[in-house]
Structure formats: C-alpha cells, structure tokens
C-alpha cells in the first residue's frame, strides 16, 4: 500500500456520514452568490439590480488571469450587488438574487444519461472549463483551467485524481465516488486529454473499500486510469504528499507539482469537469457533508452555491445544543465559522459540529522537546523551532529553516503533547516571511 514518505499523523477518521446518500438541497428563497469563490481576484459582476437571471447564467466575469467566472445558481430577479460577510466575518461582494421558480438555461443537458465520448479537442476543453467557472474543490479553489495549462517549458506526464479525503469526518468525495464513479472517471479522462497525458491515477485511502471496489470495476472501460489504494494517514490528500505517495516523486521546495510532471485534481473537480464538458453545466452546485457526533442528522447534500449556511443548518436538524464550534471543511484544515448566515461557496465541503470537549483547546504547557512535531511534520520541518522563531520575530532564521515550505496541515499542533498551538504562530510567520521574500528584488 502506498503512502507519503515523511511524517504524518493518524487522527480518528470519524466518517459517520459515509452511508448518507447525496440529497438535493432545496433551492433557497434568496441566494447570495459571492464574487470571491476562488483563489485570485474576485469576479466582476455583469448583472444589475432588476435583471432576470436563469439557473446557470453567467453573472460575473473573471477579473484577471487567476480568477474564474461566476454563474447564477438560481433563477429569479437580481436584488442588487451587496457587501456581505463571509463565514469568517470578512466583507465580500455578492450578487443577491430573489428566487422565482427554477428555470435553467436551455443549453444545460439535464438528463441523467452518462456521456462517455469526449468530443472536444484539448484546447476547447480547457476553454470550456474556464468558461464554466470550474475551480479546484479540494480546498484551495484554484481555477482549474489555469492548472490545466502548464506554464511553457513544463510538461505534464500524468494526472492524479485526489480521492484520499484524508480529513476526518468529510464524506462528500466518498459519496461522489460511490454514486457517480463513472462520471468522475470520465472527468479524469477529459482532463487527461486536455493535458495530453496517457496515464492517470485515482488515489483513494484504504478506509473507503467500497469506493475502491466500485472504481476498480471500471478498469476494463478506462484502462488508462489506475486506482491506487493509499494508506490511511493524514495528510495523504495533501497535493505534495499525494504525488509522493502515488508516483514517488517529491515536489521541490518552492516548486510546483508540475515540476514533477504531475497535475492533481480533486474528485469533486473531476465531476464538475465532467458536467461542464459533457453536460454544458457551469459550476453552481456543490456536494457538502453535514456531520459531527452531536449533529442531529448526518447528511450529504448537493447544494446550490449561495445558499445561506444557516438555512442548511436549519433544514438538517438545527444547530445542536452542545455544539461549541462549527467548522466549514475538515477538523484539521477547515475554517471555524464566525458568521452562520454566510452563503455556501463553490468550494464549501462541509458543516461540521464539534462539542466543547472535542475542540476546546487545553492550556498550553512547557515544550518538553519530545520531537513529536518533528516526527509528524510531512514536510520535514521543525515546528517547535519555527514556532519559537516566529514568536521572536526572527524572520531570517525562520526563512533559513524553510518556514515557507509549511503546508499548514496542522499535524504539529495536533500531535503536541504540551498543547502548544504551533501552527498558529508558524502560519503567521510563514505569511510574514513570504511577504518579505516577495518584496526582495529578484536577481
């Protein structure tokens, strides 16, 4: 069984919502479609108050190379372009649409039929993916079209579909693999065609035997895509770790995955690519998990982008009494929700309720220099040292100790027996050091 070579931790996987089939979440009465749903510059709205829009209609254009268009997820009347708070409480621009009916743009193929023949040429595929506003759904929401256009001089050798879902609790990728395996594989095949590569992998962690079995059943139909069983270990689904695990190549420090010849895309992204290219459907729906030991119901929803989180919480049984923290994303890298009225985004993967006992941080004690953080760091860094350097604002030393290589996976904080919040300081230190490095004149 394959796995990455350095560090890692073993959090309890808690996939308690794994057996809940994906349900269509009802269309909200008002949708708040954020313009900042991707990494890069926020999109620029092209609709105004009073405009009528249909489901799937383009409502905002990308504003720059690293950006993505935004499509309406509902039909109705645009109420206006407002400033709303995102889930952390930061302000962002959003198109607010009052929903009337559910009228889709005619060009979208809404039939359930699986289309496996790929008609478009590579260039046209990339354009289509860009046009349909597809972004990486593994967490970073990096525009997929950009990722599928390797910079000049770099050549992709293979595509890796990330089905590791190493974050505890999350099950949206798993459900997708179980319910729509062929679509995901076709999505992968489309991207392989776009990249001009002949070898593809789907990496799945061993704790999802059902998904592995189903995918392997398609082997005769898609022989160019190999299903790789990965060891259950966090952060198996980290981009750099996944490449290391699947093909045994390590992304160089400060380098990009493409330097190893690999392009990594998430399962959700592959599905979105399938829908965009084969069904002409822009990315305005997402799969998300509602879970937690204290949650009233375990759910996997297909939601329209722009649905208020509070609405999803309400429909799935309300916020549990004893929930102390609500997280969007997994417990290792997800964001704590500050504003429950924030709308869902393309990349929203879960609502996770944790009780005080599960999540409240314990008082920090002295570092006993046990080196467990060093052993856990998947990037081979020394978190105890970086924490100290960041706290002392010794940026030069932090840089010399490769603080910029940190992938913010949280293994160090997770494993520290003294409950030292190592990553809190390292993350800040990393941001500061990166800023300093960028401000330096290039040679």
């Amino acid at each position: 069984m394959k796995t990455f070579s350095i560090g890692g931790v073993h959090p309890a996987d808690n996939k308690i919502s794994a057996d809940a089939a994906i349900e269509q979440f009802p269309v909200p009465e008002v949708a708040y479609i954020s313009m900042s749903q991707h990494l890069g510059a926020p999109a620029e709205p092209i609709v105004a108050a009073g405009d009528k829009v249909k489901v799937g209609q383009l409502i905002a254009n990308p504003a720059g190379f690293i950006s993505a268009p935004v499509h309406s997820s509902v039909s109705g009347t645009v109420k206006g372009i407002e400033t709303i708070k995102d889930l952390a409480g930061n302000f962002c621009k959003a198109v607010v649409i009052e929903v009337e009916g559910d009228e889709w743009v005619e060009t979208i193929d809404r039939s359930a039929e699986v289309v496996s023949e790929i008609k478009l040429e590579p260039k046209a595929i990339v354009d289509k993916i860009k046009e349909m506003g597809i972004v990486g759904l593994g967490g970073a929401t990096f525009p997929t079209g950009v990722k599928l256009s390797p910079p000049p001089g770099k050549k992709a050798e293979f595509l890796i579909i990330n089905g590791a879902e190493c974050e505890p609790y999350l099950t949206s990728d798993y459900r997708l693999l179980v319910e729509c395996p062929e679509q995901v594989l076709i999505g992968a095949a489309i991207m392989m065609k776009a990249l001009g590569v002949t070898k593809g992998f789907v990496g799945v962690e061993e704790n999802k035997p059902k998904a592995i079995e189903i995918l392997k059943g398609f082997h005769s139909k898609y022989p160019q895509i190999e299903i790789v069983t990965l060891k259950k270990k966090y952060p198996q689904g980290g981009e750099k770790q996944l490449i290391d695990a699947v093909v045994g190549r390590q992304v160089p420090s400060m380098g990009l995955p493409i330097d190893t010849g690999a392009v990594v895309q998430n399962v959700g992204t592959a599905f979105a690519v399938y829908e965009a290219v084969q069904k002409n459907k822009p990315l305005f729906e997402g799969i998300m998990t509602v879970t937690g030991q204290c949650a009233a119901q375990q759910k996997n929803y297909r939601h329209r982008v722009g649905t208020p989180l509070s609405k999803i919480m309400e429909v799935s049984g309300g916020i549990p009494e004893n929930a102390a923290k609500i997280i969007s994303g997994g417990p290792m890298m997800g964001k704590a929700i500050n504003n429950i009225d924030a709308p869902t985004l393309k990349g929203t993967s879960s609502i996770l309720y944790l009780t005080e006992e599960q999540t409240k941080r314990k008082p920090e004690s002295n570092c006993i220099r046990c080196a467990k953080c060093v052993a856990a760091c998947p990037m081979g860094l020394e978190p105890f040292l970086l924490n100290k350097l960041a706290k002392a604002k010794r940026w030069d030393d932090a840089e010399a100790n490769k603080i910029y290589d940190c992938i913010e996976c949280g293994c160090c904080s997770f494993t520290c027996p003294a409950y030292i919040p190592l990553l809190d300081n390292i993350r800040l230190g990393k941001a500061t050091v990166m800023k300093i490095m960028k401000s330096r004149p290039k040679k």
Partner: protein, 308 residues
C-alpha cells in the same frame, strides 16, 4: 618542589607576555577608525535600545547622527528634549524642542460597550487573531484585546485592564517609542501630543463602518455624524470614512466636542471634573438611553486616566 613552582611561574609568564604581544599587533592591524563622537553620544543616550527612533538601537542612533552631521531627522522619543539637547551640545548644534508625545488607545470597545459575538480560542496574540478573522466582536476595527501592545512595550507602560479588556497607557512611563502602535495589527494606538498639563482630547474610535453598523457593534463607536466637526471652533476635527479625527496640532482643548458627541466616543483626559449638566439639553437627537450614559462618559475617562 620549588623548581616546579619556578618552572610553572616562568613558563606561564612567558606565555602571557607572548600572547600580549600577539594581541597588541592584532589589535593594531584590525583597528577600526571611529569618530569618538559616536561614543560620546551613545553615553548620553538612555540605553534602552528600543528602536523607537527608527534605528536599530542607541549606538545606531549615535552613528546616524554623526553621519548626518545634524539632528534634523533624528529624535530620541525615550530621552526626549533633555537628551536631544545634550546630544546637540555634544555635536555643537542647536535643536528645536519637540512637544512630548504619548501613546493613545483609540478604541472604546470595552466589554460593556461592545458585546462579544464569538469566543476566540486560538493562540493569544492579536497578530494571529487578526490573520484569522476580523475579531470576536461585531466591530472590525477595534482592539482585539490579546495584548500584543503590552508585550511590545519595553517600559511597562501599557497594560491590559481586565475589566474593560482594553489596554491602558501609563502616561508617566510611556516614552512614545511607538512600539505598541507598530505591534497593533488594527492600528488602534496612535502617538499624540502629550498636551499641556497632560490634557488631551481625542476620538477614541477608528470604526470606518457606517453609523448604524458601527453603533450596532459598539455602543461607544464614532458614528461619523459630524456634530463635533460642526461644533469645533478651530476646525481641528475632520470626518472621513465615517470616523472623526481630531488634529492635535489644531485642537485648543476647549472640549466642546466632548459634550456634543452622542455616543461618547470623544475622550477628554486629565481635565478637572466638572458638573455633567451641560449634556442634558440635547436629548432629542440622542437615543433614549444615551443622556445618562453620556453624563457618565464625560467623567469616566478622567477617572480612569487618573488612576494611572
């Protein structure tokens, strides 16, 4: 026995002599010519090495002064005018006196005025908290209360008030080095004129949100109504981005604005207490609960600052 002692003494003495000679020549060879004035000035400096002047430390300050040949761009906030006069004398120059400054916390979001909306559970540092989210209250601009400023202060002049959750500056200890202002990720702390008899008037809020939003987040927020600016006879107050600012170079400390502010966001410190009566007549403009609170607010800051 005695021969051993003699041998030891002689050999060690010879060794010492030899090394002394070597050291002498090395010191001669690697001697760095330095203006003795630098040492003189460094001796005058307070020696806090706080970096408040913008140099790496007191010696760097001295070097910068000597290199420039004048004191136009240099000022030691810790030593103040006293030190600068001495430095100027050492350099054979005259120096204009600068008004003493003090750090001022421009946030009035105490626990009572500004209700918490979430509980922050991360590492207790304003910088970390600020990088995560806008803050644990409805206000995006105000003090985060983790005390980065108190940690930055080398003079023990700033401390967190456990009751209000806000930092309090001890004006006698504050040297206006600016470390706290630099440490504050929200930019809540400003260096302002210390004022005659330590009297100061300032707007204790930097919330740039619209009035209603600001008011909802914090009872004592500046709502940008502009009344103070209209009242001010010296045109010292400007309202920009929904927040008022008093220019301390123009303010004549008439404190008319203090009574005018509907939320009590303007603070006047170290003024003798006076009857709270003048606040009463403007009831129609202020919401129902305000007058009582307001009367208190005029007196409150004075009490707080006097305790320092």
């Amino acid at each position: 026995m005695s021969t051993i002692i003699i041998y030891t003494v002689v050999s060690l003495s010879l060794l010492g002599l030899l090394l002394a000679v070597v050291l002498y020549f090395v010191a001669q060879k690697f001697k760095v010519e330095e203006n003795p004035l630098i040492d003189t000035i460094e001796a005058i400096m307070p020696g806090a090495n706080c970096g408040g002047c913008g140099n790496a430390g007191c010696r760097a300050f001295a070097e910068a002064c000597v290199k420039a040949g004048n004191l136009d761009a240099q000022f030691c906030p810790v030593g103040g005018n006293e030190t600068m006069k001495k430095v100027a004398a050492a350099m054979g120059l005259e120096v204009a006196e600068k008004a003493p400054m003090v750090a001022v916390v421009r946030c009035n979001g105490s626990c009572a005025n500004r209700a918490k909306t979430t509980t922050y559970d991360g590492y207790k540092s304003c910088a970390v908290m600020n990088s995560l989210y806008p803050g644990d209250t409805g206000c995006r601009y105000g003090c985060l209360g983790c005390g980065d400023c108190t940690n930055a202060c080398q003079f023990g002049a700033i401390s967190m008030d456990p009751e209000t959750g806000l930092p309090v500056v001890d004006q006698d200890k504050c040297t206006a080095c600016g470390a706290c202002a630099k440490a504050c990720p929200k930019g809540v702390i400003e260096l302002r004129n210390k004022g005659i008899k330590n009297r100061r008037v300032f707007v204790s809020c930097i919330n740039k949100d619209k009035g209603a939003v600001a008011r909802k987040a914090c009872k004592a927020a500046c709502i940008g109504c502009g009344k103070c600016a209209k009242t001010c006879p010296f045109e010292a107050i400007t309202v920009e981005n929904n927040v008022a600012y008093i220019d301390y170079t123009k303010c004549k400390m008439c404190t008319k604005c203090v009574a005018e502010c509907p939320t009590g966001a303007i603070h006047a410190v170290n003024f003798p207490p006076r009857p709270a009566a003048p606040a009463a007549p403007k009831a129609p403009v202020t919401p129902a609960a305000a007058p009582a609170a307001e009367a208190k607010k005029v007196a409150e800051p004075i009490a707080v600052e006097k305790n320092n």
